[in-house]
């Protein structure tokens, strides 16, 4: 605990890097997965192929990916972009499965009546299906966010890892207090972010909290 208190500015600085390394991939993953997921949703063979590729990508060990990426993309081994790219691969692999599933949760009758009212398919996707998919989608985004926050620390083995640095340093200097500080910081970060996403999800979907209220008679 002493380490955390004594080195608070340092931990805060590492936390900032950590968040950046974890969340930028999440955002890129979302930007890729939402259009791709929506596009493959109704083409069953393409959906199967995409899901298979995504599952395989997710099974690649993270450390292997961190080491492979510099030679594949031509970056320096210590470039933080390596971690960003690797985590984007994981985030996309998870989200590209989650987006079609979330869209599947939208009631067919709502989609049908929207079409019959005269929505174009793009407008329906953006203004009807996507908002209604939020509750299921947010559940997946929370998993990805927490996964990313914990995976970033693996990056410290190749020298870029945000709070993971406290693990490698603590191990090298045989200083358990520093390792403990790292664990505490990462857990707090993951929990806080998970809570934040949960709250954001609820604020974005006010209609989901209305069913328990008293229903008036016709």
């Amino acid at each position: 605990m002493n380490y955390l208190i004594d080195n608070f500015p340092k931990v805060l600085d590492l936390t900032r890097t950590h968040l950046y390394l974890a969340l930028v991939p999440l955002l890129i993953g979302l930007l890729i997965s939402i259009p791709v997921g929506a596009a493959i949703r109704n083409i069953s063979w393409l959906r199967r192929v995409t899901l298979t590729v995504a599952s395989i990508a997710f099974t690649i060990p993270s450390l292997a990916l961190f080491v492979m990426i510099p030679s594949l993309v031509g970056l320096k081994i210590l470039d933080p972009l390596n971690v960003v790219i690797a985590l984007t691969v994981y985030a996309t692999a998870l989200l590209v499965r989650a987006v079609p599933e979330a869209l599947d949760s939208v009631p067919a009758a709502v989609i049908d009546s929207s079409t019959a009212m005269g929505f174009t398919s793009l407008r329906r996707a953006v203004t009807v299906e996507l908002p209604l998919a939020i509750p299921v989608l947010v559940a997946s985004i929370r998993v990805v966010a927490v996964t990313n926050i914990s995976l970033v620390s693996v990056g410290s083995l190749i020298g870029i890892g945000g709070l993971g640095k406290l693990f490698t340093e603590g191990y090298q200097r045989d200083y358990p207090d520093e390792i403990l500080a790292g664990i505490i910081a990462i857990v707090v970060l993951a929990l806080a972010f998970d809570a934040l996403l949960y709250i954001a999800g609820r604020l974005l979907t006010p209609w989901t909290r209305t069913t328990t209220k008293k229903v008036a008679r016709a």
């Binding site: 709502v110 079409t115 009212m117 008679r217 016709a218």
Partner: protein, 379 residues
Amino acid sequence: MIEFSEVTKQFPDGTTAVDNLNLRIESGSFTVFVGPSGCGKTTSMRMINRMITPTSGTISVDGQDISKINPVKLRLGIGYVIQSAGLLPHRTVVDNVATVPVLRGDSRRAARKAALEVLERVGLDLSLATRYPAQLSGGQQQRVGVARALAADPPILLMDEPFSAVDPVVREDLQSEMQRLQAELRKTIVFVTHDIDEAVKLGDRVAVFGRGGRLQQYDEPQRVLSSPATDFVSDFVGRDRGYRGLSFRGAGEVVLHNIRTSTEDRLTELPLGQGEWALVVTPQGTPRGWIDVTGVEAIRAGRMLSEAASAGGSLFGKGGDLRQALDSAISSPSGIGVAVDESGAVVGGIDATEVIEQLARQRQAEDEERNRQFFSVDT
């Protein structure tokens, strides 16, 4: 005017949903497609707004072949209501109703203002406007569905079993509301139902569909009941079609008799003989139930009215038909039908035998009328 000519729909699995349909739906008419499930009634309706494409044949709206119209543009001009309303769960009531005007390019502000007017027109309290659909009862949701379909004032309204998910009391309200709106708005309505009662109640024209997607009869509702075109239709309208047909006969001339009534506080002094009944009424004169001598004794013994009295039968309102008159009498424990005025107060009693006599007189008059026509041909 909507016209189907030689329209057939076969699904990829080989089933024929609609078989060579020829049908002409006049502008401003309320046309009901009725039939058992799988008869092609919904498929036929959904071909009008191109939600389903026919395998062969053409459908035209006001003389224009709809396969040549952009489907989105076509749908913006056709109101659509489905079972459970199909409302957008993430939009408030007023925004749901404003949907089509907004899609057509109106500003959100103007569309909302118009939406509030339409909500009022379908009998919804404006305090519901800011609620989400899940906060409404089934009947209210269905009204919002109708309001949404009417918001852009389209000439055509398609309604797919819109009232089948609500309870019978609310359904009857919604049906009357639909009749009132149609009298006011004169839309071209195509209404799908599997309920023959609903079909004959609402339709100016009824199209009965049979198995294999074949149109069996397209006629006025009275004619569907009184002279079914095929065995299928007579089976479908049921064995009690004679009774149902009574709803097309006015009961204006049925005599109302005085009935014995009593308010709750005077029940104990009620002199009733064995087998005699009295109608318990509120001080305002609305009926509460029938009571016989055993019931009066129970009241004297200190029992509650709800235990001592028998529930009343159906009520016959002013301007009702012969079916309602007969039903009020045969559903009443005393055998006397109760007629009420607009305020719900009792105005008299109906005798079942006299309803039947009234029917006989009406039919005799119709026969004479018909015979006179034959005579005039002879001379």
